[in-house]
Amino acid sequence: MPAITKLSEIVTELDELIRGKFTGKSFWISAELSGVKKYPDKRWCFFDFVEKNENGETLMKGVSWARSYQNIELFENSTGIEFKSGIEITCKVCVSFYKAKSYPQLEILEIDFAHAIGQLELEKQKTLKRLIAENKTIKYLPDGRYRTINNSLELPKVIQRIALITAANSDGQRDFKKVTITNKYDYAFSIQEYLTVIQGKTASKLILEKLKLIQQENFDIVVIVRGGGSDTDFAAFNDYELANAAATYSIPILTGIGHDRNTSIVDLMTRQLRTPTEVGSFIIERNMNFEYELQQLRDRFFEAVEDLIEDRKETLIHFKQRVKNLHPTTILKKGFAIIKSNNKIVTDPKNIKVNSELQTILKNEIISSTVNKKSKNEKQSDI
């Protein structure tokens, strides 16, 4: 009978061999992730590194233990990319032997964010170029913004009827409703919720379906919000179909997708505000602004009414004065006289003949006289 070697002895030898060869060494690798399993409460993560090459595929087990788990969190928070199967990452790893399962594995020490962001940005730029090429209504402006049908739509003066696309029981939903519903100005809102998943593979399609439903109703605006620290996957908002639909959507869309680092393509096609709370505040401010303008207008109106009445009063006083000035007693006081013939005021001397009886009425006296001569007044101004 041949000498039997225990499996565990081989494993120990392999372990020693790998230790001897790889202790203190690290490598930068670039590979795709697959089979990612995360255990956030234990702070473990297991996955496979896959490299596609001329031999087909090379696969190695990958791991992140508690001490390096923060790398994954940091990566997700900094890039906005979820650490999940299908993404390619560049990272620094060390080689160890996992004795419990008897396989060699690569443990993540550091992840290259720039590479991941670069990849994402490249994808985004590609989608944006395609949007501009295929949708003539989307214009790239010199300041880096995009003008679309949607973000050129005029917002209503007052926003009241709101279609809210959000995830059920999410921070975004709560924050947005808190700001709008409990506003101190007592503005009324009708918020209809269209609940959907907002990240993951199907999210963009589901959001698109909600937009179609909303279009059949009568809303002032559509609000898309999400929030919360664990939300990292923005892929849905960089989706070509969703972005294209948003760009040409007939009701103004406001986004509060809650990420400072990345502006998604949907944000660029619509009106972007940073957070759900900011979207809420924007709406309140818009309504406040309307009310302010209304008050300005009211003040102007009543000022104009007062001015008008005041103006008419002055005109009346002026008229009164003129009437008074023209009154015969005022004229007599100034030294003028009224001449009457046969009890009628003489306005035309043609009818006055020599020997006519005249009464000259002065301020205090009436003089009766008989005309003994008539002649033309050559110099009319000579009084």
């Binding site: 003066k157 919720e193 207008l297 009414v305």
Partner: protein, 61 residues
């Protein structure tokens, strides 16, 4: 007040009234009528800002 009145319509109507008065295009005889009209427009906006028919709805279709 008309039931199909909107914020935009009310606001533009009020603006028109203000301009008419400011430009002296209103007869004093119709002034009280115009004041009444303006007051109604303002009241409409103020009330509409703070009331709405339907409350929050949930839609999971």
């Amino acid at each position: 007040m008309k039931s199909n009145l909107t914020f935009d319509k009310a606001f533009s109507d009020l603006t028109k009234l203000v301009n008419q008065i400011e430009d002296d295009k209103i007869q004093v005889d119709t002034l009280s009528e115009k004041v009444k009209e303006a007051n109604e427009l303002i009241k409409f906006c103020e009330t509409k800002l703070r009331t709405i028919d339907s409350e929050i709805k949930r839609n999971n279709k």
